[in-house]
C-alpha cells in the first residue's frame, strides 16, 4: 500500500545538508551519505498520452510513408537520409549534431491490443513483460532498479510532480517533491512551528526537509507562468547535481486524436524546452546524463477522420544526454507496407522498449544483466538492443 511517496525510513535516515532557513529545526544537522558508486545520472520522462513516433521521427525514406498521412503537415529536418525530425524538436538539432540525441524507432512495451492509456502507462511504469498488466506486481521498475544499486539511499531517486509516480513506487525509499510546492512561513511562525514539531519526529523531519527543498527550489516558477515540466526539469537538474542519480517526471499532451498538425508542434516544443533546461541546468554533469523519453504506445499509421491519429502499438523512444551514443536512429525497421503493419493498422514493434532502457541502465550503472532481465524488467532480452551509452 505504498503511495509512492517518501517514506519514514527515508526521512529518518536523512539528516540532510540543510540551508539557513532550517535553523529553527536543530535536529537536522549536517550529514553525508555513503556515496552511490556512480557519477552517472538517469532521467526518465514519461510521455503520457501515446506519442506518435511516426510524426516525430518521420521515415521519409519508406516508400509507403507519404501516402499514409497526407494531412499531417510540418517542416522536417533530415536526420540520416531515411528519417527526418519534426520541426517541433528543431531546438534539439544541436544535440543531434553533437551526438547527444538519439531515437529508438519501432519500439514498444510488451503491452498489446487493448490500447488503453491507463493499462499502457501502468505497464510502461511497472516494466512487466506480459501483454496485459500483471496485477500481482504493484511497484515500478525504477524502484526495483534501486534495489540493485549499492548504498542507494532516500535521495538517490526523486519522483517529481504532484502525481504518485508508479515507476518509482515500491519498497525502496525515494524522495518526492513538486517544485510548485513551498513551505513558506514568517520566521517567527517558523520558530513556533519548530517548537510544535519538536516532540514529533515524523512532523519535525518532514518539515525540515520541506524547508530545505523549498529553499533549493528557489522562486516558484510555476506561479510566474513557467511550464510545470520546465520547473520540474530545473528541480531535477538541481537534485542530480547533488546526491540524486535518478529522477523521473511526466509530460502529458500526446493524445493527438485530432488537429495533430496543430497539437504536435506545441507538445514537442514543451519537450524540447524540458530537455534543453536539463542540459543547461546540469552543466558539466550533462556529460554523464542520459534522458529517456518513453511513452505507452505509438499511434495508427494512418490518420483518422479528424486530422489526428488513434491509439496504436509501435512507437518511438527518445534518448538524450552527454552519455548517449547519439546522432543515430536505432531501429530494426519493419516497413510500412500493409502486410508489415501490426494488425494492418499500427507500426509493427520490432524491439522491446525495455531492452533499450535496460541497455541504457547497464551502460550507466553497470547493472548486472541478469538483474535487469529478471528483476527490473522481467522477461526482457537485453541482447535485442544495441549498446546506447558511450
Amino acid at each position: 500500500m505504498s503511495n509512492g511517496m517518501l517514506s519514514r525510513r527515508a526521512v529518518l535516515g536523512h539528516l540532510g545538508a540543510l540551508g539557513c532557513s532550517t535553523a529553527a529545526f536543530p535536529a537536522m544537522t549536517q550529514m553525508t551519505f555513503a556515496s552511490v558508486p556512480t557519477d552517472n545520472r538517469l532521467v526518465v520522462i514519461i510521455l503520457r498520452g501515446g506519442m506518435d513516433g511516426l510524426d516525430v521521427v518521420r521515415p521519409l525514406g519508406d516508400p509507403n510513408f507519404s501516402t499514409l498521412r497526407p494531412d499531417l503537415d510540418a517542416s522536417v529536418h533530415d536526420l540520416d537520409g531515411f528519417f527526418a525530425l519534426h520541426d517541433g524538436l528543431a531546438p534539439l538539432l544541436p544535440l543531434w549534431d553533437a551526438g547527444e540525441l538519439a531515437f529508438a524507432h519501432a519500439v514498444s512495451t510488451p503491452y498489446r491490443d487493448k490500447r488503453s492509456h491507463f493499462d499502457g502507462q501502468d505497464m510502461l511504469e511497472a516494466g512487466t513483460g506480459t501483454a496485459e498488466p500483471d496485477t500481482a506486481l504493484r511497484d515500478g521498475w525504477l524502484n526495483r532498479l534501486l534495489e540493485t544499486i549499492p548504498h542507494a539511499h532516500s535521495q538517490t531517486a526523486f519522483a517529481i510532480g504532484r502525481e504518485n509516480l508508479r515507476i518509482l513506487s515500491g519498497d525502496a525509499p525515494v524522495a518526492n517533491w513538486y517544485p510548485g510546492t513551498r513551505l513558506r512561513l514568517g520566521s517567527a511562525a517558523q520558530d513556533l512551528l519548530a517548537d510544535l514539531y519538536a516532540a514529533d519526529p515524523l512532523f519535525r523531519d518532514a518539515a525540515a526537509e520541506s524547508l530545505h527543498l523549498s529553499d533549493v527550489t528557489g522562486p516558484d516558477d510555476t506561479a510566474r507562468g513557467v511550464r510545470p515540466e520546465v520547473a520540474m526539469a530545473k528541480f531535477a537538474a538541481d537534485r542530480l547535481r547533488q546526491d540524486t542519480r535518478i529522477a523521473s517526471f511526466s509530460l502529458s499532451g500526446w493524445d493527438t486524436h485530432r488537429n495533430q498538425s496543430r497539437m504536435m508542434p506545441r507538445v514537442l516544443g514543451r519537450l524540447a524546452e524540458t530537455i534543453q533546461t536539463l542540459k543547461e541546468q546540469l552543466g558539466p554533469d550533462w556529460a554523464r546524463t542520459t534522458v529517456l523519453g518513453i511513452t505507452e504506445f505509438g499511434r495508427t499509421v494512418r490518420t483518422n477522420g479528424s486530422g489526428g491519429t488513434d491509439h496504436g502499438t509501435g512507437g518511438t523512444m527518445i534518448l538524450a544526454g552527454g552519455a548517449v551514443r547519439g546522432g543515430k536512429v536505432y531501429t530494426d525497421w519493419p516497413g510500412l507496407s500493409e502486410d508489415a503493419l501490426y494488425e494492418r493498422r499500427d507500426l509493427m514493434p520490432t524491439t522491446d522498449t525495455r531492452a533499450y532502457a535496460g541497455s541504457a541502465i547497464r551502460g550507466l550503472f553497470g547493472t548486472d544483466r541478469a538483474d535487469l532481465e529478471h528483476l527490473v524488467f522481467p522477461g526482457s532480452d537485453l541482447s535485442t538492443a544495441p549498446s546506447v551509452i558511450l
Binding site: T135, L183, L192, L202, F203, A206, S210
Partner: protein
C-alpha cells in the same frame, strides 16, 4: 465529555463551531438514520456518467465521418465528463460539513477504500463517486455480505478489475470466439476484499473463483448483467466448497460463494484488523481486533454491530492519536474547524473547487477517488507526512485561514474549541506567541495534534 471529543476526531472530522460532540451510542444511531444528506448533495450517478460517455462516443464517430457540427458536441460532452468528478468532490465535502452523522461519512470512505475503484479514463472517473453511493454507502451499517454482493454486481468494479472481459473458456461464447478467463477480479476478491493476502488460498482457488465468477459482465450501455452464455459451465470448487451444478450457471451460485467468503474466519480477522488499523492504530491491540471479530461472527457481519463494538471499545476511546488524518479528512476538518457549512462549498464554482480542493489534494498525495491501485490508500502516517505532503497541508491551511478565518477573533478560544483534548502546552505557547491572528490559527491547523487522530 472528553470521550466524546476523542470519538469526534477518531470517527468523525473533529470539532468546530457547528459540530455537536456525540456519544458512541449517538454516533451509531445517527449512522443508521435515513441518509438525508446524500440526497441534499447528490453526486453524479454512475449511469449518468456512462450515458454522457455513450453520447460522446456517438458524437466522436459522427465527427470521424465528417459531421462538422459533431466536434463541438464532443468537446461539450468531454467538458461535462471532466466536470463530473469535481461536482462529486464538491458534494462529498458539502456532505461532511452538514453531516448529522460524520461517522457515516468516515465509514463510507473507509469501505470505498476497501473496495477501491480508481477510474482509468474520464468516463470511469466521472462515475466513480456514483459507484461509492450506489454500492458502498447504503451498506455501511448493513451487512458486509450485502456490500460485497453489491460491489460484485456494480459495473464500476467489474470494469475496473476486468471481470467484464473474463469469459469461461468452455462457455458457448468462449468456444465460439476462443476467449478465456481474466483472473484479476477473482484474485483481488480473495486477496483484498475478503480473505486477505495472508489467507489460505492457492492459485488453484483463484482460478476456480475466476471460473465461478464468469457471467458477471456489462451490457453495451454499461449496466450490470449476468450472462450464462459466457459463464464457465459446470460446478467449481473453491476453498473446498463446490458451487453450481451441471445445469446452466446462475447468479445465485456466485452469491452463495460471496456469502461464504463474507463469513470466512480469515475474512473476519482481516477486516477486524483493517478497521482497527484505520480508525485506531497502525499496531492495534489484539484485544480490540479480537472483540470486533467476535461481534462480526456473532452477528454474521452486521456492520452496525461491528462498528458499535469498535466505537464503544475502551481501547478506541483512549486519547492516543497514533494515526494521521488522510488529506480528505484533514481538509474537511479544517473547514469544520473554521465554521464552514455545506452551502458554502456547494456554492463554489467548479473551477475553484478544482483549483482549491482538487489540486491540493493531489499535492497532499490523495487525488480524489484516484488511489494508485486496487489496494487503496496507505495507512502508514509516514506516507502522508512527507516533505511535500506536509508543505501542501500547511500551505492549504494558510490559504483556508486567509479565506475563511477572518472573523475568528480569538485564536486561544479557537484552539480550545478545536483541540479540547490536546495537552496544549506547546500549542498554547505557539498561539500566544504568534505575530498575527492568522499565523496563530494556521499553527493550530498545522500542528501534529490537529493532523493526527
Amino acid at each position: 465529555m472528553t470521550t466524546e471529543y476523542v470519538l469526534g476526531v477518531r470517527f468523525g472530522y473533529g470539532h468546530g463551531p457547528h459540530t455537536v460532540p456525540q456519544s458512541a451510542d449517538t454516533m451509531i444511531r445517527s449512522a443508521r438514520a435515513p441518509d438525508a444528506i446524500a440526497t441534499r448533495y447528490p453526486v453524479v450517478p454512475f449511469r449518468e456518467a456512462m450515458k454522457l460517455e455513450r453520447m460522446r462516443h456517438a458524437a466522436q464517430l459522427a465527427a470521424n465521418k465528417g459531421d462538422e457540427t459533431a466536434m463541438a458536441r464532443v468537446s461539450d460532452l468531454r467538458k461535462q465528463l471532466r466536470a463530473a468528478p469535481i461536482k462529486s468532490m464538491r458534494a462529498a465535502f458539502a456532505r461532511i460539513l452538514d453531516a448529522k452523522s460524520p461517522l457515516r461519512e468516515r465509514l463510507t470512505w473507509f469501505w470505498a477504500d476497501h473496495f477501491t475503484v480508481a477510474g482509468r479514463n474520464i468516463a470511469q472517473r466521472a462515475g466513480s463517486a456514483g459507484y461509492v453511493d450506489e454500492a458502498i454507502r447504503p451498506h455501511v451499517t448493513g451487512r458486509f455480505a450485502d456490500m460485497l454482493k453489491a460491489v460484485s454486481q456494480h459495473p464500476a468494479m467489474l470494469a475496473y478489475l476486468d471481470q467484464h472481459v473474463s469469459i469461461g473458456p468452455d462457455s458457448a461464447v468462449g468456444q465460439r470466439r476462443n476467449r478465456g478467463l481474466n483472473e484479476n477480479y477473482a484474485r483481488e476478491l480473495l486477496e483484498l476484499h475478503t480473505l486477505g493476502v495472508d489467507g489460505a488460498y492457492t492459485q488453484q482457488d483463484v482460478r476456480a473463483a475466476a471460473e465461478l465468477l464468469t457471467g458477471l459482465t456489462l451490457t453495451k450501455s454499461r449496466d450490470f448483467a449476468f450472462r450464462s452464455a459466457i459463464a464457465q459451465p459446470g460446478p467449481e470448487t473453491v476453498l473446498g466448497t463446490t458451487y453450481g451444478t451441471d445445469a446452466a450457471a446462475q447468479l445465485s451460485d456466485i452469491e452463495g460463494f460471496l456469502d461464504d467468503l463474507a463469513r470466512d474466519p480469515q475474512t473476519i480477522d482481516h477486516l477486524a484488523t483493517k478497521l482497527a488499523v484505520h480508525f485506531v492504530s497502525d499496531d492495534p491491540p489484539a484485544e480490540l481486533t479480537r472483540d470486533i471479530a467476535a461481534t462480526w461472527r456473532d452477528t454474521d457481519g452486521d456492520l452496525a454491530a461491528v462498528t458499535s463494538t469498535l466505537v464503544n471499545h475502551k481501547l478506541a476511546q483512549r486519547h492516543q492519536p497514533d494515526k494521521v488524518k488522510t488529506p480528505i479528512t484533514f481538509m474537511a476538518s479544517v473547514m469544520l474547524a473554521l465554521g464552514l457549512r455545506g452551502a458554502d462549498i456547494a456554492a463554489l464554482r467548479l473551477r475553484d473547487v478544482s483549483r482549491r480542493f482538487g489540486a491540493p489534494l493531489q499535492t497532499m498525495g490523495q487525488p480524489f477517488l484516484g488511489a494508485p491501485g486496487p489496494d487503496g490508500w496507505s495507512e502508514d502516517p509516514a506516507d502522508w507526512i512527507t516533505p511535500q505532503g506536509l508543505a501542501a497541508r500547511i500551505g492549504w491551511a494558510t490559504w483556508a485561514v486567509k479565506t475563511w478565518g477572518q472573523d475568528i477573533a480569538d485564536p486561544r478560544a479557537f484552539l480550545a474549541r478545536t483541540l479540547p483534548t490536546a495537552d496544549g502546552g506547546a500549542l498554547r505557547f505557539a498561539v500566544g506567541g504568534a505575530e498575527t491572528r492568522a499565523d496563530a490559527l494556521t499553527l493550530v491547523l498545522a500542528s501534529p495534534e490537529f493532523n493526527r487522530s
